[in-house]
């Protein structure tokens, strides 16, 4: 058990060390640019996983909070100057917490519904948010969009600050995921996911953990939205609050494996890189969508539960072989039973000798 955990921590350390060192290798801008987008999705998929994976509430409305973050940072800096270029990043925690607070009443209402209905309710919220962004012109600029100051970073290292901030966010998202998995929060979320009514009836803090998962999840998403807006420089309602963003996040999480620590990250690295690569190299030729869809379908067919769970299942089976071979029985030190009519016994009765301590 201990050694397994050690491996897990080592894995995480190596992963983040490699990612942190990558830019030092003087990577080309286009590579860093691709990694910036990949990290964005990795953070969002991890965040979504807290709610959609662990709690079993498949939100399709996360893009609304992405938009909340994007608009928050854009509108704030329409009235406040950007000098060093890092100001928007300092605002991130505020945006995250703000989005979480905005999310609280929404969660309280929306989470009265379950599974598919919850999915539809949240996607509905997304469209409502989008409509508001379009129509509250005086605040958002409506369809005309809104611009944020161009980051005053030098062209040579333009992507670095974004990359670093996103890496920190990913560490936070994965750290929170990990912490929840090994605490009773994770246990309670799993119970909620399996059978919420029963969980409520046996004293699980259903409401508390649900709301917690929702708020953390949307808070992280909003922070990514803010970074995105700053990076792209200009936002319109249809792109800042885009159902396709949610769909991409969900696809990544499912592909990598729901309710796992690494699944969403792996999913994001595969799908976002595939998307960026195919869209660029095959984009002109219409085959891009086909290639992208096939990557996804093939992985899903080979690993129907997503990558990480499929691998875990295989490992588990190997471990289980040992477990099942242990004896099951009613009796403790049972004496051999003599059948009254021995002639009718078709098989000699020899109870397995075992002691209580044998049980694993």
């Amino acid at each position: 058990m201990r050694s397994v955990r050690g491996i897990g921590q080592a894995r995480a350390a190596v992963f983040f060390a490699v990612l942190a060192m990558l830019p030092a290798f003087n990577l080309a801008h286009w590579v860093l640019n691709m990694l910036v987008f990949t990290l964005m999705y990795a953070v969002m998929a991890s965040a979504w996983n807290l709610l959609g994976g662990f709690a079993g509430y498949p939100s399709l409305g996360h893009a609304a909070f992405f938009g909340v973050g994007a608009y928050a940072v854009t509108l704030w800096f329409q009235h406040h100057g950007i000098h060093s270029g890092y100001e928007p990043f300092f605002l991130l925690p505020v945006i995250g917490i703000g989005a979480a607070i905005v999310g609280l009443p929404i969660a309280a209402i929306a989470m009265r519904t379950r599974s598919d209905v919850f999915a539809i309710v949240t996607i509905t919220l997304l469209f409502v948010a989008q409509t508001l962004a379009f129509n509250l012109r005086s605040i958002t600029g409506g369809a005309q969009g809104a611009s944020i100051a161009i980051p005053p970073f030098s062209a040579a290292t333009f992507e670095r600050p974004f990359y670093d901030v996103l890496l920190v966010l990913l560490a936070v998202a994965m750290g929170l995921t990990w912490a929840s998995m090994r605490s009773k929060v994770g246990l309670s979320l799993a119970a909620v996911r399996a059978d919420e009514d029963k969980a409520a009836g046996i004293g699980v803090r259903v409401q508390a953990v649900k709301l917690l998962a929702f708020c953390v999840s949307v808070g992280l998403t909003a922070m990514v939205g803010a970074v995105w807006a700053y990076y792209v420089g200009f936002i319109y309602p249809q792109f800042a609050i885009d159902p396709l963003i949610t769909i991409a996040i969900v696809l990544m999480t499912f592909l990598g494996g729901r309710a796992t620590l690494w699944g969403p990250v792996i999913g994001a690295f595969i799908l976002e890189l595939a998307q960026q690569y195919f869209a660029y190299s095959l984009g002109g030729s219409q085959y891009y969508l086909i290639a992208y869809a096939l990557v996804f379908l093939v992985v899903m067919l080979l690993m129907p539960r997503g990558i990480v769970p499929s691998i875990q299942e295989r490992l588990r089976h190997r471990r289980r072989r040992r477990v099942v071979d242990a004896p099951t029985s009613t009796g403790g030190a049972a004496q051999p039973v003599r059948a009254e009519a021995a002639s009718m016994t078709r098989r000699p009765f020899t109870p397995v000798p075992y002691a209580e301590g044998d049980r694993a």
Partner: protein
């Protein structure tokens, strides 16, 4: 290691004989795909023409066109890749108009000139990027002003009394109609109905139904593509035909428009265009000829988006001819001074990249799109009032 950083002259200062690679991201899928493809045709046609002439300054022109699927993230990635991965020499703009801003910022970062044949909304110019040039005669939102000028030039008894406005909520549609409305209202044309509709509106029947109920003399549509078709279809079904029907966009698409609304229903519809068949502007005849040769059809079937794209190339050609250089810095500094002839007419820009010219008014007459105003370009008399729908 990254080469593109800051040194725009690096890759473009290459020796003659090495191909001149021009990169562009356009929307080949999604809502803007019709126009996106027209842009692609224009770029390609110009490149072919140049190569037939032996290239620019002895360098063959090679295009690299990628798809952005209408996503701002993808457009950023695309220009990053074009500039830093493929090290293209020059960049042309996207068609997906909403994507121009993020794309122009990337180009600016690496010192690339950014010539965009589409996407000239006010916010683009508000960025005040000196590398940006909008290759049309006027900023998009002013493209309908010529319609207002025409209507107000009519004698009082022919002038419409009431107007209805149906505007797509899009930075490049609604403002055009709004500009017209201001001019109309100032001239005493009563607004009986005004409606902005969101871009996902699949069904324009409720809006057009409300307009039909008001019987306005003129309908001004601030439109893109789909909704322009939808407006006409609904009006036909509602059997209401106004005296003047103006649509800022969509109706100026010679191939798609009759196909989508039915040829019989195009008669009399007015739109704005910068290029029109039979234009006498610089290179227009050549362009028309090679277009027909390559893609078939008639001069009527040429989309003005193709012409705008072609004009983008013409500018490069003109700068090269004048300066004998073909790097980004030269292009930027050259275009900022003087006036440059293209098939859209002579173009010149303010420092923010906004062009200083005017559009032309075109009308559908007997299945053809002909220029009717201003008099300098007019090839036919305006058909007014518009006849009834063909059904």
């Amino acid at each position: 290691a990254s080469k593109g950083g800051g040194s725009a002259t690096g890759p473009s200062g290459g020796a003659p004989g090495k191909a001149l690679v021009i990169g562009a991201s356009v929307s080949l899928t999604g809502d803007f795909s019709d126009s996106g493809k027209a842009v692609q045709r224009g770029y390609q046609l110009w490149a072919d023409t140049m190569n037939a002439k032996g290239g620019i300054l002895g360098r063959k022109v090679q295009l690299k066109i990628v798809n952005d699927a209408s996503s701002p993230s993808q457009v950023v990635t695309n220009y990053q890749n074009l500039i830093n991965k493929d090290h293209v020499d020059l960049t042309f703009g996207p068609f997906s108009t909403l994507l121009t801003i993020p794309a122009s910022q990337v180009a600016k970062r690496y010192g690339y000139a950014f010539l965009a044949p589409a996407g000239g909304g006010p916010k683009v110019f508000a960025q005040k990027l000196n590398n940006f040039f909008f290759v049309q005669p006027a900023p998009t939102t002013q493209s309908g002003d010529v319609f207002a000028a025409y209507i107000l030039s009519l004698p009082a008894d022919q002038r419409p009394k009431t107007a209805a406005y149906a505007e797509l909520d899009d930075p490049f549609a609604a403002p055009i109609a709004e500009n017209i409305r201001q001019k109309f209202e100032a001239a005493g044309i009563k607004t009986v109905y005004k409606q902005v509709y969101p871009s996902e509106t699949a069904d324009l029947s409720p809006v057009m139904g409300a307009i039909a109920a008001k019987h306005p003399d003129v309908i001004v549509g601030g439109t893109q593509n789909q909704d322009a078709y939808g407006q006409i279809k609904s009006l036909v079904q509602l059997k209401f035909s106004p005296k003047f029907m103006f649509q800022s966009n969509g109706a100026n698409s010679p191939l798609e428009y009759p196909d989508k609304v039915g040829r019989a229903n195009t008669e009399g519809v007015i739109s704005a265009a910068d290029w029109f068949p039979g234009s006498t502007a610089a290179g227009s005849a050549d362009f028309t000829a090679v277009y027909i040769k390559k893609y078939g059809g008639t001069a009527q079937s040429v989309d003005d988006s193709s012409a705008e794209a072609y004009a983008t190339g013409q500018l490069i050609e003109a700068v090269a001819a004048k300066t004998h250089k073909i790097d980004n810095a030269t292009i930027i500094s050259s275009l900022h001074s003087g006036s440059w002839p293209t098939l859209l007419g002579n173009l010149s820009w303010s420092s923010d990249g906004a062009p200083n010219g005017e559009f032309n008014l075109v009308q559908w007459q007997k299945g053809k799109l002909v220029p009717i105003y201003p008099a300098s370009v007019s090839q036919a008399t305006p058909e007014a009032p518009k006849p009834n729908w063909g059904g």
